[in-house]
């Protein structure tokens, strides 16, 4: 499904990584490891199509993502370091709007159900700026419940989350993998996925 062929990344005149090859099939999870500054985020941004690799190609279902364009974006949900929420909007407005922009228009009921699952039901009408870091993270991750895309690319999704929330996300990941979804993620925390094969990719 998702294939990386000889990927390389150059930042300034420094080569972060080269000759990265992998092939991830439906229902598989790939965890990207590496010390700080080894290019994990750069790799994930390449995989989303936000930036182009310095060399190599990324294929989705056998086709280069560069030629897929919008069709590829429709298959990906990316949650990065930045939460992607607006401070001045309420939690529920944020979720409705970000889902709609990702191509999934939802009703208010669906949104509050997702927020309830993420443990934010009492805060749905508060502006995001009054939330704590962990709660903001939950708002961003609530998108995973709504955007039913096959490929999830998650950059440090567990940062700032408490134990309960980490369990919740683990459950979500397992469920997604069981349904044949793909996950590419980086994390410095331990996660236990027992239901699916976990592939490890080590960046120098």
């Amino acid at each position: 499904m998702l294939q990386g062929i000889n990927l390389a990344c150059i930042r300034g005149d420094r080569e972060l990584f080269k000759n990265i090859n992998f092939s991830l099939e439906a229902g598989g999870l790939m965890q990207v490891h590496g010390p700080n500054g080894s290019g994990k985020t750069s790799l994930l941004r390449m995989l989303c199509g936000l930036s182009n690799p310095a060399a190599g190609e990324i294929h989705w279902c056998g086709t280069a993502i560069r030629s897929l364009d919008g069709d590829y974006f429709a298959a990906v949900t990316y949650i990065g370091h930045l939460s992607g929420t607006k401070d001045d909007l309420t939690v529920i407005e944020n979720l409705c709007i970000s889902s709609a922009l990702a191509g999934f228009e939802i009703s208010v009921d669906q949104a509050s159900e997702a927020l309830k699952y993420m443990g934010l039901s009492e805060r749905e009408s508060l502006p995001v700026k009054v939330l704590s870091q962990g709660q903001r993270r939950r708002v961003a991750l609530a998108r995973l419940l709504i955007c039913k895309t096959p490929l999830w690319i998650l950059d440090e999704p567990l940062v700032a989350l408490d134990v309960m929330a980490v369990k919740l996300i683990q459950g979500l990941l397992e469920q997604h993998l069981q349904q044949g979804g793909l996950v590419v993620m980086t994390t410095h925390q331990e996660i236990e996925i027992t239901t699916a094969p976990v592939m490890q990719l080590q960046l120098a």
Partner: protein
């Protein structure tokens, strides 16, 4: 989709009314400074009115360009827009339209009132408002290209004015020219048609250019 982005930006503008009001008051103050400093010489005021109002509109519209993408860039929502399966050009068009509704339309509405300070005749006020109505969307559209190109740069605010102001010149010439032509008793339709043409051209090209610049800026 297109509706959502406009709704979102208008909602954000409502929550942060000070941003909208500063632009409007900047316009009002700049336009009012000239009669105060030049003195009550009616003929001179009438001649300079179209130019002053238009220059103030350019500056006011540019003042808010920095905010067009930078907030979205900082909180990561711009990144998500780039990953949207919908056409980015369409999203950008929506953002430019929202920018115009928030900064351009108030200027258009204030212009006839401010024009009275310059002793403009009623018909000239009407022409001035019409040119601004046609011209201010062009300012938002062209400005979006500059805002996208300077995204994330240090000192982007000054750079954006150097990039964008020269591109505003044609609109300025024909916008102010239409009012002068009207006061001189010559027809002003040609001027209006030209501004309309600028509007159509920028409606087609600006969103596309902005979308490409955004992809480069976020790489």
């Amino acid at each position: 989709m297109f509706g959502w982005i406009i709704k979102r930006d208008l909602l954000l503008a409502m929550r942060r009314q000070s941003d909208v009001l500063t632009t409007l008051f900047f316009f009002i103050i700049v336009v009012s400074l000239f009669p105060l400093s030049v003195g009550p010489e009616m003929n001179m005021l009438r001649t300079m009115a179209p130019g002053v109002v238009w220059v103030a509109a350019l500056l006011a519209s540019m003042l808010s360009l920095g905010r067009m993408f930078s907030n979205d860039y900082l909180d990561g929502t711009l990144e998500q827009m780039l990953l949207s399966p919908q056409s980015l050009s369409l999203l950008v068009l929506g953002k430019a339209l929202a920018h115009w509704l928030v900064t351009g339309v108030p200027l258009v509405l204030m212009a006839p009132i401010l024009g009275i300070q310059y002793d403009l005749p009623a018909e000239a006020l009407y022409v001035l408002t019409t040119t601004l109505l046609l011209g201010t969307p062009v300012l938002s559209l062209i400005g979006s290209i500059g805002a996208a190109l300077t995204l994330g740069l240090r000192g982007g605010g000054v750079l954006v004015s150097l990039l964008v102001l020269p591109l505003y010149i044609p609109v300025l010439i024909f916008g102010a020219g239409a009012v002068e032509a009207n006061m001189a008793g010559v027809g002003f339709n040609a001027h209006l048609s030209l501004i309309g043409a600028f509007l159509l051209v920028s409606l087609v090209f600006a969103p596309w250019a902005t979308a490409s610049s955004l992809r480069v800026s976020l790489e």
